[in-house]
Amino acid sequence: MSRIEKRLASLNGKKALVAFYTAGDPDLSASKDIFAVIEKNGADIIEIGVPFSDPLADGPTIQASSHRSLQNGTTLKKIIQLVADIRKTSELPIILMTSFNPVLVYGQKEFVADAVKAGVDGVIIPDLPPEEAEEFLGLAEGLDMVFLLAPTSTPSRIEQVGKISKGFIYYISLTGTTGTKESLSAGLEEKVDEIKKSVSLPVLVGFGVSGPEQAKQAAQISDGVIIGSAIVKLIEAHSDPAERDLKLAEFLASIKKAINP
């Protein structure tokens, strides 16, 4: 069993909290501190975002965060080093969320080897759908590749993704890009039900889950929530590290409480 699978299995029906933030925003040393704060405040899995110049699935918050990170000189190599460093003191499952091009340029084989060695547990590559993932999957020994499903996914795609995804299914709660939204999409419950009927993996809900109320609703109908833009916004808004860590802790605690009352 992988770290991700173990962690999710250990929840025994409790809802999972997955937290996302962009590596290198505001800088890589802060990224290590932020990881510790998120871990301490109850995240079950941490998704570390790899910045990309053209993040097509991201709304303005993560786009701006990616941009700041790249301005700081963040690279995939440095992020893998960051994970190795974090792994010395943490056993929390770590997923890298990245666009495909940085991985392709790194070398798919070399990337897998270096990531596994550093202690990365899984990857989410939104622009590498099952149709294009064959080569990477063949090389990804030791990494759980988490695939996504969306409100537009057809029954046959749900079945296909259910077969190849590892760890969990990332359900995109809305037809849109990442970012905080006023409310969850209509039809969310029906779609998650539909997926859960044909897939045995846990289904976690992300994109547009921004506060405790939405997290609570999303968790009631799924196996957990993924929160990204709201965290990135919080980090952006507080340049003082002590205050940032405090606000982050409060926010995560409120989510944790909302999903597992």
Partner: protein, 399 residues
Amino acid sequence: MNKHNLPDAKGHYGKFGGKYVIETLMPALQELQTLYEEAKEDPKFKEDLSYYLKHYVGRPTALYFAERLTKHLGGAKIYLKREDLTHTGAHKINNTIGSALLTQRMGKKRVIAETGAGQHGVATATAASLFGLECDVFMGEEDMKRQSLNVFKMRLLGANVIPVTSGTRTLKDATSEAIRNWITTVETTHYIIGSVVGPHPYPMIVRDFQKIIGEESTRQIMEMEGRLPDTCVACVGGGSNSMGLFYPFLKNNEVKLVGVEAAGLGVDTDKHGASLTKGSPGVLHGMKSYLLHDDGGQVTEAHSISAGLDYPGVGCEHSYLKDSGRATYASITDAEALEGFKLLCTKEGIIPALESSHAIAHVAKLAPKMKKDEIILVCLSGRGDKDVNQIADRMGVSL
């Protein structure tokens, strides 16, 4: 027989192409492919398309023997395929009419587009007006400045022009923003991509709508010269006019195909748009193709005097043709393109688009080295009205 029957079933051109997009869009791409395959076999669709191409766009466009230019250069005979004479003044309309008809067939009421020089934006706004569709065009703020005339035209035609302020504020970011909008509106909106780029089936559909350039050229040159040209030349940004010209000639191995990229300030500087000449394989905007990017996989800025060639990627079929050796790719600097522009103005009385001026500038290098009985067929992809202000600025003339 045409041996080049690509893409394959998965939308790959050798190792290039594909569908590198988020799950949300995958079903729409599948639907588009099915719908397109039905449409292209449907006599009614074919009839409608050729009706509008003939009576509205003004096809077939002329193939014109550029006699004074030929004499001036002193070598091969130069023929111009006059896409600049189409309604809206560039080849882009061939694709937008076809795509608007597909949109109608889908029952969708809204289209979106990205635009660099504004030619594709104007062509999409035109087709949207013609077929009563709502139209939003994404355009980089920087390009809106360079191409203010086209911005105004799009608005006159009833389209919304949405300024894109992210990244380099040019075509790359306009494309990214259009894709993001499509991710959000895919259930009601058709995205009309302006070039042979993007996820499958787009590069194939746009090529198919543009191949009329090469089909007409073949027929016309056979009538005028009784034989095929020795060399075809066209500019390459995303590469739709060149793909449209090249495609019908792919089976004729004796016809050389030459694409001309933007060398900007020079391919050895970091200010150019020559993805095929200087890039390496990468994934951007839903496809694998040659790409300008750094050693961390971050896409780098392209540069060209011409907004339409100012793009760090290139159509995936061109990447395939480059690697297979069937086509070759040259590049022309900003300064050379301006010379090409002036040459056509003064020798033939034709004001070409800056994009097409790159092709002319390359012909000016090529023709003198060829024999007088050889033939070059060059795609004059668009007219230069949109560029006149920018060129006046550069010449220090205030209008």
